[in-house]
Amino acid sequence: MKTFTISWPSLGLKVACGPVQVNRDVFDLFCENLPIKVLQGHEVVGGFMLRDRMVRFGKKPYDIQNAAEEAMNTAAEGTVFLTAAQAGSGELVIKYDTCVDDRAYIPFAQVAGEDMAALKKAGKAAWKSASRTKDVIISVIEGV
């Protein structure tokens, strides 16, 4: 398994993600835990980021102590972050537009450039759900 995709079946959207080399071990361990199904949330403080708050690593819990971190506000759009890498579950944050959050998390994957438009559509739909409609959007993450 070399890459993974994130899809939102109810939205008819899918994006492909490749590794961020500096945290290749985090990426590989993430892939070993796929597939993952999670409620799609949205960041409500720091800006325009998708946020999955209950990502479970049921196959291989994380125990990576020295993963590299990067501030989210200066990271490239499309960067996929893991908030913590030492437990059996964690949170996933995907920057899809501007954000001011200077907290540093673990960048381990990057959404493919050709899929950025789809990612932004998913982001807008998630914000609409969070702020108005409350539609439940499920995200499915699968290895390729």
């Binding site: 990502v55 908030t83 030492q86 949170e91 969070a130 702020s131």
Partner: protein, 179 residues
């Protein structure tokens, strides 16, 4: 005597599986239907309960239990250290969760705290804490989903132009009412 920790973990894990795409009843009750069985909510208002409850729900899981797990994975921390961390870092914030209507979450956390004090394997303790951590993360996720963020649209952050206009209006009001 605390309940059997394996039975507790089995119950928590079953809930963890059920609430992936089905909202927990506690969250629907408090955040969707605005029913708070504990009577919390000063003067029958919801915002305090939502604010305090949502914050505490996140602290039990992401800030406290996660960091106990993280420290517990360091061999320098003994089983007794982990027990002390659990007894120190979880009771107060769990009480906040309970007050704000997260009945099941509070019960799971309380029973976990009780079980941990009687357990004799650090691996088992970390496994049980991981189950609670995931449950708390799920509660945090659903809380965020049902929180009525649209209320924020009634208090938009003012622009520079807004601030300048507010300043001019305040200045004018001061002159007119204090001369």
């Amino acid at each position: 005597m605390a309940m059997d920790w394996k039975a507790l973990q089995k119950e928590i894990d079953a809930e963890n599986k059920r609430i992936i795409d089905e909202a927990p009843e506690d969250i629907e009750r408090v955040f969707k239907f605005e029913i708070i069985p504990t009577g919390a909510g000063t003067a029958k208002t919801t915002m305090g309960v939502w604010f305090e409850g949502a914050t505490a729900a996140r602290y039990v899981a992401a800030y406290n239990t996660y960091n106990i797990i993280k420290l517990g994975m360091d061999p320098a921390f003994t089983l007794e250290h982990i027990k002390t961390l659990v007894a120190t870092m979880l009771p107060k914030v769990t009480a906040s969760v309970k007050l704000c209507g997260y009945a099941v979450y509070a019960r799971f956390a309380e029973e976990t705290m009780a079980c941990v004090q009687e357990m004799d394997s650090r691996e088992d303790v970390l496994s049980l804490l991981n189950s609670l951590y995931l449950y708390g993360s799920s509660m945090n996720a659903w809380t965020h989903h049902f929180m009525k963020w649209a209320i924020g649209q009634t208090t938009p952050i003012p622009s520079r132009e807004d601030c300048e206009a507010i300043g001019r209006a305040a200045s004018k009001a001061y002159v007119e009412t204090h001369v």
